[in-house]
Amino acid sequence: MKNELIHLNHISKSYNGKVVLDDLDLIIHENEFVTILGPSGCGKTTTLRILAGFETPDIGSVIFSGKDITNLPPNKRQLNTVFQNYALFTHMNVAENIAFGLKIKKQSRSYIEDKIQYALKLVGLEGFEKRSVNNLSGGQQQRVAIARAIVNEPRVLLLDEPLGALDLKLRQDMQYELIRMKNELSITFIYVTHDQQEALTMSDTIVVMNQGYIQQMGTPEEIYNEPENAFVADFIGDSNLFPGIFVRDEMITIDGVPFACVDTGFGTNKPVDIVIRPEDVDLVPCGQGTVSGVVTDLIFKGVHYEMCVDVNGREWVSQSTMPCAVGEEVDISVHPFNIQVMNKPESEDEEAVKTDD
């Protein structure tokens, strides 16, 4: 098992009476790529700022490799941050920006020079030393910000929505770049984002947060395939989210229609939430599926088509490479393995499916 590096120990934080983090408990391991994922206002940035030392928790402590660093100022911590808007020093050139932390540590001139070269090579900006940061593109500024952080050899790199301001193509390139850098540096990355695609692509572990709580924590596969509640299911990827009845083990009903599933242990005749990913909703000719409906919408999405099917007044979304014409009558078939059953939220707090993105 990996070594534990950071422990956010039952942290709570509120601003002006508004609770931002509520008893957050999180363990992060060495050399792990952790993504904290959630809608804006979910507390993810506050979590990062507590880690960096810009905020102190009201309750709880921050343990960093065995030591309590809760009240240690940011300049004494072995973490470095890549800020959302880069926060480059605009009156300095690229090399001066990168050398900032090293000069404070009174490193020798030749050491600093070597480090600058190494960092520029790592982020793919060789030859940019003398350039003014004002004349760089967004992606290049992003790379300088990363270089400026990593030359200090932090044990953890904190990234606050670093790709938010970049266009889609560049963002995808940078995702691969970040994974490469992470592997090359073998340090822990803690990455904050509201973009579920980024989280799924890059992370070893995803922490889904909402309203100051951790909703679910796990590998990208676990989060995507086995969401624990309606919020996670709704936030990660597209999904059909239906209220259903857990009739008995391996049998549920949606709007009274029975479906076979593989889940057990939810009781008998108990109301539950059901998630079915659109790509798992198969449209088959009439008579061959579980329930019939009419195609009401057909959208070409590039890789696949997305179809909306009206089933007795409830809309099912299906994704497939084979289109069905609008108005066509079809049957719906779902493999039992692809039906995900979740408990209904027990408290008001957990019932936070509505996201404000």
Binding site: A52, G53, F54, P73, P74, N75, L79, N80, T81, F83, Q84, N85, A87, L88, F89, T90, H91, F100, G101, I104, K105, N134, N135, R148, A149, N152
Partner: protein, 253 residues
């Protein structure tokens, strides 16, 4: 338009012309001379007034820059409502009639039994200069990316190092233009100085005033021309600094 400019600048132009007029009678052109300028610099009381003016302007603008910048930092930390109220309060002295400011300072110093002299003028100048600094520095400080300071801390800088190495250079153009403006205002001021100076200490403007009361000497035209020129140069400098900082900001965007 030309007429407006003529009215605006004709008196000053006449003043400058007269300062080079050899004839003591103002109605007649007696030839070109530097005589009045020469006798200015040989008059010790004028040299002293000049020194006073310059040191007062330097000291008051310098102190105002420090206090004004600190005020900006403090003000931005406040809630929006409190800040806009305080900003309004800070701006009032700038709009207030100089004579009111001057008399109220005089009253204050009398009440507090502070002896009139160099220090009372300095105090008054610092006070009326601070709003000009705030006016210049505030927009620049508020536009500043707040994460710049945090980034410096994050990279290991102490709070003081972070401020002087990252925040200060970013707002330096605004501080410079605020300081220059304050410097100009201080050199320019007559009324407030007049009420806070008491006997003994003279600045150029109070010197001219007292000389003129006794009868106009051509040296005063020369002196006034020089003050005008100095202020003009300073204003051009302020514009330059503001222009270049604005350009730098545009480049960032």
């Amino acid at each position: 338009m030309a007429l407006i400019f003529l009215f605006m600048y004709a008196p000053i132009a006449l003043l400058i012309v007269q300062s080079f007029n050899k004839s003591k009678s103002r109605g007649r052109w007696g030839g070109f001379t530097f005589e009045w300028y020469g006798s200015l610099f040989s008059d010790e009381s004028i040299i002293e007034a000049f020194t006073n003016t310059i040191t007062l302007a330097l000291l008051s603008s310098l102190i105002a820059v420090v206090l004004g910048t600190a005020a900006c930092i403090f003000l931005t930390k406040l809630k929006k409502r409190t800040r806009s109220i305080l900003m309004g309060v800070a701006n009032v002295p700038m709009l207030n009639a100089d004579i009111v400011t001057g008399i109220s300072f005089m009253l204050l110093f009398i009440t507090l039994r502070i002896e009139f002299g160099y220090s009372t003028i300095l105090l008054a100048h610092i006070t009326f200069n601070i709003p000009y600094v705030i006016l210049n520095v505030m927009p620049s400080y508020r536009d500043l990316n707040p994460h710049i300071y945090e980034a410096a801390l994050d990279l290991g800088a102490s709070p003081a190092y972070a401020f002087f190495k990252t925040v200060l250079p970013e707002i330096l153009p605004a501080i410079l233009s605020g300081g220059l403006m304050a410097f100009t205002m201080s050199i320019d001021d007559f009324i407030i100085t007049h009420f806070t100076a008491g006997a003994g200490v003279q600045t150029l403007s109070t010197k001219i005033y007292s000389e003129v009361k006794l009868g106009i000497k051509p040296e005063m035209y020369a002196l006034s021309s020089m003050i005008f020129l100095a202020v003009l140069i300073l204003l051009i400098l302020v514009n330059r600094v503001q222009g270049s900082s604005r350009k730098a900001q545009e480049e960032e965007v």
